[in-house]
């Protein structure tokens, strides 16, 4: 049970003179004591039927690792061209990436994504990428739950087009209209109102 941080064995080229623990592909706290599998870790990840099979497996594999390793990961939202079903095809010279917004709780009193969270995001992809050589690239974009510093038009676009892949619990206010699954993704016309509400001091978001 708990984290799987010790499963992978990577050569660490870090010179160890900086203050970031790059040997940890998860949460720094996880190495010191066992972390129980948190609520929501066994919730299913929304399938994306129009995504090619290899990319779908790559996405689910990397995201599953992140969910296991990061108890502070709260949600994953597919956005961008794949969510809108306008992605350039895999046989295009420049096929579209798969864009996923990752929403974390803050680590301690930090007001930005922590180094450990960034490292965990990167390692989740690195750990499995060689198993999916023909897949589209994954672009994981980490952010904190308050969505502070984010451009409001970006949030509006994600709220309008996004597909909730997975959530541990509640979502930031602008994304409350998102439902897990691919039905009705283009019908969420109330999300701009949600952004406006959040800007005026909604329950969760600070824009």
């Amino acid at each position: 049970m708990g984290n799987k941080l010790s499963q992978a064995d990577h050569t660490d080229h870090t010179d160890h003179t900086d203050h970031t623990d790059h040997t940890v592909r998860g949460n720094n706290r996880a190495r010191k004591e066992p972390v129980p599998v948190p609520d929501g870790a066994d919730r299913p990840i929304t399938p994306i039927p129009w995504l090619d099979e290899e990319t779908e497996h790559f996405l689910r594999h990397a995201l599953s690792l992140l969910i296991e390793r990061c108890p502070d990961l709260q949600a994953a939202i597919l956005y961008g061209s794949v969510a809108r079903r306008t992605a350039r095809p895999l046989n295009d010279p420049h096929p579209s990436d798969v864009d996923v917004l990752l929403i974390f709780l803050p680590e301690g009193d930090l007001d930005t994504v922590s180094a450990a969270q960034r490292a965990a995001v990167s390692w989740a992809k690195v750990d499995v990428i060689d198993q999916y050589p023909q897949a589209r690239d994954l672009q994981f974009m980490p952010t904190l739950f308050d969505l502070a510093r984010w451009d409001t038009s970006f949030i509006e676009n994600v709220a309008r087009d996004g597909i909730l892949l997975w959530a541990r619990s509640s979502l930031p206010a602008p994304f409350n209209a998102l439902r897990q699954g691919t039905e009705g993704a283009a019908e969420r016309t109330d999300t701009v109102d949600a952004v406006e509400t959040a800007r005026e001091g909604g329950a969760h978001a600070t824009l």
Partner: protein, 116 residues
């Protein structure tokens, strides 16, 4: 471009980083600083791959996967972080001082690897 050319490009970008000044007092430069760390790191990766693996690329597309194939997982992870920081800084205004410092740390580790 040969190995010396890539190294010179990296060094030139690092001079540009110096010219841009202290990110604490020049917050408007944050996204450009992140872009420069990304660019310099890319050229150092090419230098390192040529020296250690006799492999050359002029493209950053698919680089994380290729680095993993070469057995350079730590470099792949640092490059992956730089890609994320660059996208965040350039397109979504995620360019805080902490983001600049994270990019600097990734670049520094990649540079150390390439020159070791």
């Amino acid at each position: 471009m040969n190995e010396a050319g890539h190294q010179q490009r990296a060094l030139n970008i690092e001079r540009s980083l110096q010219d841009l000044g202290d990110p604490v007092t020049h917050p408007h430069n944050h996204s450009v600083l992140i872009e420069c760390y990304w660019g310099a790191a890319f050229h150092w990766i090419v230098v390192g791959c040529m020296r250690k693996h006799q492999w050359h690329t002029d493209s950053h597309a698919g680089l994380v996967g290729r680095l993993k194939q070469l057995g350079e997982a730590q470099v792949a992870a640092d490059w992956g972080q730089l890609e994320t920081l660059r996208t965040g800084g350039w397109y979504t205004y995620q360019d805080s001082l902490a983001d600049v410092q994270a990019a600097e740390q990734c670049w520094q580790r990649i540079r150390s690897w390439a020159t070791s």
